[in-house]
């Protein structure tokens, strides 16, 4: 399930619903990314997230499909906020259910790396000292590059 949410969501409630639905799976991994309160020395007042309706959902769908090709996933759930967010609020939540923990961990890790660098969102940090559009860090691109080819090669063995 892919959910672009324009209002705050409750990670605990989302996990409850997900893990009940995926009750046959042995392993459930979840990731929650939250708005940070500081940017360097500066204070973050808000985060503003924009998306391209229709296109963004499709870009996430493609990322999820790729994860399902690479790992034996029972179920996946991706929630991503848009609009104005306050520090501490969840931005993104990814839940993955699988028979074994390795698959669940790797698929969740992969989904986050790709959501960070390939899903169609744009975010602006509103700081005490001004506004700034955020682009992925070098580490984010490096993390995403870890998955290039490797898992799919494994599958073909």
């Amino acid at each position: 399930m892919i959910n672009i949410a324009s209002a705050p969501f409750d990670p605990g409630a989302e996990l409850s619903a997900f893990e009940k639905k995926a009750s046959g799976a042995g392993a459930v991994v979840s990731f929650i990314g939250k708005v940070r309160a500081t940017a360097g020395e500066d204070t973050v007042k808000a985060l503003y997230l924009e998306h391209y309706p229709g296109v963004t959902e499709r870009s996430i769908g493609e990322i999820e499909s790729e994860a399902r090709q690479r790992w034996a996933i029972d179920d996946a759930h991706i929630i991503h906020r848009v609009g104005e967010l306050q520090p501490g609020e969840p931005i993104v939540m990814v839940c993955v259910a699988s028979a074994h923990r390795r698959e669940a961990f790797e698929a969740a890790d992969f989904l986050m790396d790709y959501l960070k660098t390939k899903a169609m969102f744009w975010k602006k940090e509103v700081r005490e000292g001004g506004e700034a559009w955020i682009e992925p860090r070098k580490e984010d691109y490096k993390d995403a590059a870890r998955w290039r080819g490797s898992a799919r090669d494994d599958e073909e063995e």
Partner: protein, 83 residues
């Protein structure tokens, strides 16, 4: 009229998230459209000419030399950043 969408910092540079723009003989590709848009606005010119900008025509990623026509929705995307 083509519908033009600007996302993220490109909307700031364009002073708005969308505009309607009449295409003509001189604006047959995205590249032409960028030139036309940039002719009038310096801030937008430097933003749209960044190598990292990507283009979408009618919800499909398109190259810079892709043909465009009136009724198209053309979007300019700066680097994405989710999560």
């Amino acid at each position: 009229m083509a519908r033009i969408l600007f996302f993220g910092k490109l909307a700031d540079a364009a002073g708005g998230r969308s505009r309607d723009w009449p295409l003509n003989e001189a604006t047959k590709t995205i590249d032409d459209l960028v030139s036309a848009l940039c002719a009038k606005e310096d801030a937008l010119a430097s933003a749209l000419n960044e190598k990292s900008v990507r283009f979408i025509i009618n919800e499909m990623i398109a190259p810079r030399d892709a043909a465009i026509s009136d009724e198209d929705e053309i979007a300019f995307l700066p680097p994405v950043s989710g999560g």
